[in-house]
């Protein structure tokens, strides 16, 4: 049988680009585990309350807030994971679905790396198990020759399995989850006896994420839909909260890029307002407009704001200006869509033009920097 080794790297090598959440926040998790005394769902490393604190933060315990979003959604997600239904996180790109899924796994199972990345070429092998063909030919099917994939591991170790972008997989591959989700057992018909059936240990469940911009969840089979509880993650509804988040993240990224300047708050305000308006299709004065087809997520706003800061500092030695935003917008907001570019122009001509504040005027006057 395959070795029951822990999939988590034991320590965090300094050169790792992006350590998983359980490594990055190992110290917080350790403290929470110690302080956490209530009853835990079987197979869970923390109580529900502990998981909640880990994700939503608690300044009193020195735990950082990692997910800016509706706390009730986190409650529902956790409770779902403690039942026999999987959790499906749905939303626009850049709404922190994967982040939430990673945090949940790190807190509940202590491991967020049992991940299946969905795609057009994903096969059942990559989900369940495959074989070491040298051993298979030499010894015939045996537990030793079996190479476990994330789902197999999750069942055996009683851990959460993440299935990213599930809707990008072919339907028949998606449906291979059916029996595992309902009967909580994986059949390995090649093996005999006790190894022929792998029963899920407590703590196993699946968190899937799906993107509303790709093939949506509409095409999923209703049999599979039934086995998931759906949670839709929306862009951050509150302007202030989003502004703060963009500011915080931009400052972090800028300092990493060696820019010793904080962004101008008025420039950030323009940027976040523009993103929110183009995303929601409504100005903050309540006028309706057309949404862009490009993704105008908070994550995109952060990356534009980062680019604006970098431009300003390395090109002129000052913080980014409204003109810089216009330059950077073309690349993100409009990407290569001529249609979006038109919408963007119309936004400048008919909406931005009416705002009288000084920095908005500068923004409007820089509209000729939009290409084309």
């Amino acid at each position: 049988m395959a070795k029951a080794k822990s999939p988590v790297p034991p320590s965090q090598p300094a050169s790792v680009q992006r350590p998983p959440a359980e490594v990055l926040y190992a110290e917080e998790l350790a403290r929470l585990t110690e302080a956490d005394s209530g009853p835990r769902p079987p197979g869970w490393k923390l109580t529900l309350g502990g998981v909640r604190t880990f994700i939503l933060g608690d300044p009193g315990l020195g735990v950082r807030k990692k997910f800016v979003g509706n706390p009730a959604l986190v409650d529902r997600a956790m409770v779902t994971l403690a039942t026999n239904r999987g959790l499906m996180l749905v939303g626009e790109p850049g709404t922190a679905k994967s982040l939430l899924s990673e945090l949940l796994c790190a807190a509940i199972s202590g491991c967020s790396t049992l991940t299946i990345q969905g795609g057009a070429s994903t096969t059942e092998d990559q989900i369940k198990y495959s074989w070491n063909y040298a051993l298979l030919v030499a010894e015939g099917p045996s537990p030793r020759a079996l190479v476990p994939a994330p789902l197999y591991q999750g069942l055996r170790l009683g851990q959460l399995v993440r299935f990213e972008e599930i809707t990008r997989c072919p339907l028949e591959v998606q449906d291979s989850l059916l029996s595992v989700l309902s009967d909580r057992v994986l059949a390995v018909p090649e093996l005999e006896g006790e190894f022929g059936m792998l029963f899920a240990r407590d703590g196993f469940n699946v968190i899937a994420t799906a993107n509303t911009r790709d093939r949506g969840v509409n095409e999923m089979s209703s049999a599979l839909k039934r086995r998931f509880n759906f949670e839709t993650i929306f862009p951050i509804p509150d302007f202030r909260v989003e502004l703060d988040l963009v500011k915080e993240e931009t400052e972090r990224l800028l300092s990493r890029s060696g820019v010793p300047m904080t962004p101008d708050p008025r420039v950030l305000e323009i940027l976040v307002t523009t993103f929110r308006e183009l995303r929601s299709g409504e100005t903050h004065e309540g006028q309706a407009m057309e949404r862009l087809s490009a993704v105008m997520s908070t994550a995109e706003a952060v990356s534009v704001s980062h680019a604006v800061g970098v431009r300003g500092y390395f090109m002129r030695g000052e913080p980014g200006t409204p003109e810089d935003i216009v330059e950077c917008l073309a690349g993100t907001a409009a990407k290569d869509s001529a249609e979006d570019m038109k919408k963007l122009r119309r936004y400048f001509e008919q909406r931005v033009s009416k705002r009288k504040e000084d920095h908005w005027r500068r923004y409007y006057e820089a509209r000729h920097l939009l290409p084309g």
Binding site: L48, R52, V79, T83, R85, V90, V217, F230, R346, E349
Partner: protein, 772 residues
């Protein structure tokens, strides 16, 4: 003598419970309730044994200013419970707040709305602290769980203490608080003299202030009189039946505690039993509406909700637990709009149908009923007076009335009947008449009959207002808000306002209606609505609508919206849509006739039109219309320049099939200019002459449509110009003959086909030269 101030949230069953038990324990001498003090002489009307929900409706009309406000009461409202318990224990119960006609209530429709402190946002901080998602969940978490009364009282007190802090009351609230303090000071003095306690029931924000500042004042001779309205003002308060649905549909800052059906169950069956009742109601409703809800789903919902209760440490299932459980278990798709209980006010568009039904179940469908013997609302008397004044009889015998709107009396009668029609009073029906207020039909026929339902309907309609005009106005306001910016509906309702002689709406509603124009997505609809409204605004003398500020405001916003929508039209191959071209024409009319009277500046339109005129991605008809717009309003520096632009535009049309589309746009907007421009006609003629027969056939349908926009006489003029171009001179009869074929179209087509095949044949034998 003791004073107990119970700060409450309006329509909170927990607060109602506290009020009930406190009164039963204390048996106070006086109970003073935050409510309209002008009702004090008639409190017994409230105790006739009504079935709540009901409301005290207050109206006030002074000069051209009118205001309506409701004080809604449900079975579980702390104020309603306080009133009934107080009377039962023999206390002297009174309302202690200012009447709704004072400045403090200007524009306030729901007296018992929640107050929001945007500046300090204590609720936001508490939500963060307790890790709950929204204010309503926070309230339930803190106060609506089962707990003993002392604990509840303590929590409420410290919450309201923190909410108020050192804050001064707003300019609106200060006179109210001063009045309430005076009322309490009088009651305290009385109680000191004759023994007994005083209980005050008021909104939590006021409670700390009232506790701190009320002390016995023997100098007050009697219960402070409420301020009187201006001399000559019409005003009054009376009881009307109300409904849960209406209680739950106040929007924005006017909203209060949500989901009446849920909290009524909490009050009647207790917080432990209520969720199960509502769960049942919701599931039943979902299944009646054919939404798929399996037994497995229900088990999942309820077990999820129960798990949430444990996770959140609630003593029993709260509203948000149940709703969250239902959402997690039932929703089987990505949502397009946020869960309805995470924000306040009406449901957002594209809310999942399952969630819409669940919210409707939580809202409930109860209608209140007034007890027999409740004084009849003044609307009934007003309707009788109005009918009598203009000599219309509404009797149990069916009758018909024919009205001539050109006569003053006919108009007067028509107005009254239209107002009744707006209130949907059975027995008043218009059999014949013009559809719109700008129609040419100036006669109306009405069929009238008084039935049993007529009176019932009038009592219900009384909740809209005290006079017929006021009620009709309030109803129209409601309809306008419900139209959600659909401009055809807006125009229709404003037309009804014209029929009914209602020339102005309350400013706040008008702002909302005007803002809702932004929601219109169809340029064609917007255009047709704004031209209807524009003609009413220009020629509505009959209905006194000429220059109406109300319509002017809608027109201004339609202008803005129209320009926005116009700029969004795309598609170089899109066929002409007449409605859209007409919308450009209506934008031009707005610029032309609105100049100096409403804010529809030509420069704003010019910017958009100049961009559209040269936009290769724009539909050809829109390019033509934009050029026509500029030409006909002097947007180009000279006629010559305009012709150059028009020609350039025409030659720039890439497809033959779109040539006519471009011309349609141009012709509708700049008919006169085109007819006078020989050079343009010459150039069109040149282009058409050079076309091969196949190309011409492709271009023909849209060209036909384009030229059909000219009236026959002008078409003849064009024909004459064209003939002159080709043969030097032409007479009128020649021009007329040129437009009409002497033989049927089919014959001409056959002839042309024959000619074509002869041409081919001749070409085959090398005989082209012979034909030439």
């Amino acid at each position: 003598m003791a004073l107990k101030v119970i700060g409450v949230r309006h329509h909170s069953p927990a607060c109602a419970r506290l009020v009930k038990e406190t009164i039963r324990q204390m048996k106070p001498r006086f109970i003073l309730i935050e409510g309209p003090s002008d009702m004090n002489g008639r409190l017994d009307e409230l105790l006739l044994g009504h079935e709540p929900p009901l409301a005290v409706f207050t109206f006030h009309q002074f000069e051209d200013h009118s205001h309506a406000s409701w004080t809604p009461l449900c079975g579980y409202s702390p104020e309603w419970v306080g009133l009934n318990e107080g009377v039962a224990c023999g206390a002297d119960v009174r309302f202690m707040d200012l009447p709704a006609w004072t400045k403090s209530f200007e524009g306030v429709r729901n007296r018992y709305h929640d107050r929001r402190d945007e500046k300090r946002d204590l609720d936001g901080l508490l939500c963060q602290k307790f890790g709950v998602a929204d204010v309503d969940s926070l309230w339930d978490h803190l106060f609506e769980q089962p707990m003993d009364l002392e604990e509840l009282a303590l929590r409420l007190e410290s919450y309201f203490e923190a909410l108020r802090g050192e804050a001064e009351a707003s300019e609106r609230d200060q006179p109210r608080e001063d009045y309430m303090v005076r009322c309490l000071s009088w009651a305290l003095a009385e109680a000191e003299r004759s023994g007994g306690d005083v209980v005050a029931i008021c909104g939590g924000f006021h409670a700390p202030f009232l506790s701190r500042n009320s002390r016995p004042d023997p100098a007050l001779p009697s219960f402070p009189d409420p301020p009187r309205p201006e001399a000559g003002a019409r005003h009054g308060s009376y009881l009307v039946p109300y409904s849960w649905k209406r209680l739950d549909s106040f929007t924005g800052y006017e909203s209060g505690m949500p989901s009446p059906a849920f909290y009524d169950a909490v009050w009647t069956h207790g917080p432990e039993a209520a969720p199960e009742k509502l769960f049942e109601t919701a599931v039943k409703r979902l299944r009646e509406r054919k939404q798929p809800v399996s037994a497995a789903d229900l088990i999942a919902c309820f077990s999820l909700a129960s798990a949430l209760v444990r996770l959140r440490g609630h003593a029993c299932m709260l509203r948000s637990d149940l709703l969250d459980g239902l959402a997690a278990g039932l929703v089987k798709d990505g949502l397009e709009a946020a869960l309805p209980w995470t924000y306040r006010g009406v449901l957002r568009p594209r809310t999942d149908p399952m969630l819409v039904e669940i919210m409707a179940a939580f809202s409930g469908e109860k209608y209140g009923r007034l007890a027999a013997g409740t004084p009849r609302p003044p609307l009934l008397a007003d309707v009788e007076t109005e009918l009598e004044r203009c000599g219309v009889t509404l009797s149990s015998e069916p009758g018909a009335v024919a009205l001539d709107l050109t006569e003053p009396l006919g108009r007067e009668k028509s107005r009254v009947l239209h107002r009744l029609r707006i209130l949907e009073i059975p027995g008043v029906q218009r059999a014949k008449g013009s559809e719109s207020a700008t129609g040419v039909e100036l006669k109306e026929t009405w069929s009238l009959r008084r039935t049993f339902e007529t009176e019932m309907a009038l009592i219900e309609a009384a909740s809209w207002g005290a006079t017929l005009e006021q009620a009709a106005r309030a109803r129209l306001e409601e309809l306008l808000l419900a139209a959600e910016g659909k401009s055809s509906l807006l125009a229709e309702i404003l037309g009804r306002a014209a029929f009914a002689g209602i020339q102005a709406l309350s400013a706040r509603v008008m702002d909302l209606v005007v803002a809702s124009v932004e929601k219109e997505t169809s340029l064609a609809d917007l255009g047709s609505a704004s031209s209807t409204l524009l003609s009413l605004w220009r020629h509505g003398d009959l209905y006194e609508m000429t220059g109406s500020a109300m319509i002017g405001a809608v027109l201004e916003r339609s202008f803005e919206r129209g320009l926005w929508l116009l700029e969004g039209l795309q598609g170089p191959a899109a066929p002409a849509v007449e409605g859209e071209i007409r919308a450009v024409a209506s934008l031009r009319d707005l610029v032309r006739y609105g100049q100096g009277r409403i804010d529809t500046p030509a420069e704003r339109a010019f910017g958009v039109m100049l961009r559209r005129a040269v936009d290769a991605e724009a539909p050809p008809a829109i390019r033509g219309a934009a050029i026509g717009f500029l030409w006909s309003t002097g947007g180009y520096e000279s006629t010559g320049a305009a012709e150059v632009h028009a020609l350039g535009g025409f030659r720039g049309v890439a497809r033959f099939s779109s040539l006519g589309d471009f011309l349609s746009g141009l012709f509708i907007l700049a008919r006169d200019e085109v007819v006078r421009s020989n050079s343009l006609l010459e150039s069109i003629d040149g282009t058409l002459s050079e076309m091969g027969p196949d190309d011409f056939l492709v271009a023909l349908p849209s060209l036909r449509m384009a030229f059909a926009f000219f009236p026959p006489l002008e078409r003849e003029g064009i024909a004459r110009t064209v003939l002159e171009m080709h043969q030097g001179t032409a007479t009128d009869s020649e021009a007329r003959a040129f437009l009409r074929t002497q033989v049927p179209v089919e014959v001409v087509a056959e002839g042309a086909a024959l000619e074509l095949s002869i041409d081919k044949l001749m070409k085959q034998y090398g005989l082209e030269a012979v034909k030439a």
